[in-house]
């Protein structure tokens, strides 16, 4: 299963995703899709530095389904993290989508 790495930014807590250049981005569509557990492991190793540098907290990889150029989290929790509260369409990332 493909995965994406997400975290929360230390300074404001906002959900961020890891892009292929190592940057932390706010939208899932800009995140790096990691095809397998080997890639996930390698990326998580690199992220250790960002954790040590206190840029991000709560780092974890989550499952995504990729259809064409659309990426969708598999689990409801991650869908809500990637979009925002289902009850407030104007809040969170969905506002910018």
């Amino acid at each position: 299963m493909s995965q994406v790495i997400s975290a929360n930014r230390l300074s404001d807590g906002i959900v961020v995703f890891r892009a292929s250049n190592g940057a932390w981005v706010e939208q899932l569509r800009d995140a790096e899709i990691l095809p397998d557990s080997v890639a996930v492991k390698a990326a998580l190793d690199l992220v250790e530095l960002d954790i040590k540098a206190n840029h991000v907290i709560e780092v974890a990889a989550f499952d995504v389904a990729v259809k064409g150029d659309h990426v969708e989290p598999v689990h409801l929790r991650d869908k809500i993290r990637a979009k925002g509260p289902t009850i407030h369409p104007g809040h969170g990332k969905q506002a910018a989508l």
Binding site: N8, G13, N54, I80, P85, H91
Partner: protein, 557 residues
Amino acid sequence: MYRYDEFDAAFVADRLNQFSDQVQRRLSGELTEEQFRIHRLMNGVYLQLHAYMLRIAIPYGTLSPRQLRKLAHIARRYDKGFGHFTTRQNIQFNWPALKDIPEILGELASVEMHAIQTSGNCIRNVTADHFAGAAADEIEDPRPYAEILRQWSSIHPEFTYLPRKFKLALSGSPHDRAAIQVHDIGYQLVKNDKGETGFAVYVGGGLGRTPMVGHKIRDFLPTKDLLAYTQAIVRVYNLEGRRDNKYKARIKILVHEKGFEAMRAAVEAEFEADKSELLALPQSEVERISAYFAPPALPERAAQSQALETRRASDHAFAAFVDVNVSKHRQAGYGLLTISLKPIGGIPGDATAEQMELVAELAEKFGHDEIRVSHEQNLVLPHVALDDLPAVYDALAAQGLATANAGLISDIISCPGMDYCSLATARSIPVAQRISERFADGPRAKDIGGMKIKISGCINACGHHHVGHIGILGLERKGVETYQLTLGGSGDESCTLGDITGPGFSYEDVVDAIETVVDTYIGLRSTPDEDFLSAYRRVGMAPFKKALYERDSGSEI
């Protein structure tokens, strides 16, 4: 209400400096997240699904207009224009940045508020009956004692690293509106045969994954021993409570595993041994604090209000509002007004900055400067003249705050659930919204009568589902949301935990299931006055189970 003296103000300022320093040390990397977490939690800062969440204490649910205005300001300036009132008489903001939090806490300190001990394994925000000081059935106002407990427990050096969180609740009336029997310690003001006031004390109640109703450990505790006895309980718990498993760390588990009698003996022995009398509460101190809570001087008024009756006769919506949302005040000509934060289809407990400002203004104009936050996630104006109700109603209606559903089926308690909470296994707010829409019809809701639906988005039970007349617990089964129902729970003086109906229902089906339960009740109640809880207690689970699980196999109900 209570006003900080210099000492209190200095205490909060001190704590603010301390936490600001900790935030700085975290942002600079001097503290690791693990070391910082405990500090941020002790100052009400959680990390949630989308962002940080700041939980602010509203001790015993009492607010002044100035404070509510400040909350509105914080909602607007640092959040997205709204706040969420919780079942623990707190308000939560869902989007503050960590770097702004010291500033927010500074703003709060300017109106004598803080976020101290709204999380962490310490003695939490002390809650009390939201009708305190106004209810017709009250023995004594519990808030002076709640305030004393608040002060005594604040940053208590011995009790800051308890095995788990510790919650105190007080009620001053025989009718328990503060759910004291599901708290770690519950205090009920009572009179003994000599006419003295004291507390019946309950210990070891709690919800969460192992719900338990508290045991009465004392029938009568003299008020002067309030702190000494509390210290004895908390000390026994601190020394003996389990620390190996956080799910077994609450005092209810200690009471359960040690045995209630052994627990009582240990507490009484500790209480006896503490001969220092250091904690004895002098009557003069009780009186000093009580003076802050002196009821406002309410001018005498006729028991019947002409203005109210005239309007009632011509306006159905107003009549319904008065019948449902106004409770009996102890002084004739006045009412306790519940302002429902449960508009049909709305988010239980949410209030916008504009709504908060309106309520503050109404409290100033018509409510003797007092506002209460109820554990049912509503606001209360405790002293409104019946004559003023038409004006108050019109103002509320203009801001969508005149929903006439207090205590009815759409007055639903709901935790944030998966829309915000990182621990959730399912959503809860949208379920509340859908139920509320299903039962939007006023006359039908009134016919159903008193009904408390309570929803939690996971086993932690922040939504009190175990003590809901109908409780809903959102779980996850094979990756999809599933909702388990419980029936017959109650958080009042007749406290009981609900019984599970059986297999859960899907997100799609759960509202139909609730309707089935309601229709079944309507069909079997002995008279229209027999409310759901009484009917359930009379007939038990069987007819509901049958209706819920046999309808598909063709049986009729």
